[in-house]
Symmetry: C2
Subunit: 151 residues, 2 copies
Amino acid sequence: MTDLLYFEDLQPGQAFDLGSITVTREEIIGFAEEFDPQPFHLDDDAGEASLLGGLAASGWHTGSLVMRLLAANLLNRTSGRGSPGISKLQWKQPVFPGDTLTARAEILETKNLRTKPDLGIAIFRITATKQNDTKVIHWENPILFAKRDIA
Amino acid sequence: MTDLLYFEDLQPGQAFDLGSITVTREEIIGFAEEFDPQPFHLDDDAGEASLLGGLAASGWHTGSLVMRLLAANLLNRTSGRGSPGISKLQWKQPVFPGDTLTARAEILETKNLRTKPDLGIAIFRITATKQNDTKVIHWENPILFAKRDIA
């Protein structure tokens, strides 16, 4: 546990590679059946007739895939304590079966919390690109971290 | 198909009840294992020791559950064509096993799209509450709709 990153270790401008994840057709349809059953997330013909241009992942699925990379490859190596919300989320292009997403997290700002002196907050910008380097999704995410001196 | 809601049917101030959904312990852990493997989403002890106060759903899970209600109970009865993003998402309190979320969508604004005259955009505010009427999550979501006259 000694190599955990605490709030004191985080600075604006730091960036973290979060690795990559590939999504399958079965995963796209399975997620949509459970959480976003709009036709263009479920059916090839409906996808091709839509603005997406083909059967494409729910935006909530895309975000959740990137969340997996953020949690497994960064937050679980820190004193992260969760997040109060997200802002400025944009889906820049559809995610199709077989696409590989590569994600990155950059710290925009850090600040102390007046109400909870044992915690600080770091505002991250999370971005993911496809295998052809085009942008897929980005959002901003304030995340709480415990301080080393108090933890 | 004649009773679909098109862009012309949508006006600021309209609100739609989206129904309710209950989440189980198994679903919370299953989603977290796949998409958000932070300890407080996976384990009772870690949840109780966390700011959440108990094993609680990933925020992406909570949002996806509400997305299900939005898709199944509103968007699939409209000419909805997807969304470019979300903003101002806040998680107001944790979602625990057995909690029931009840959601609602309100239209804040509608506007035509200059670049795509066959589409309009409606900005929704999506909110969900728990069984005790306290707020769980809210966000704003611009959603594209086809126009009746052109569709």
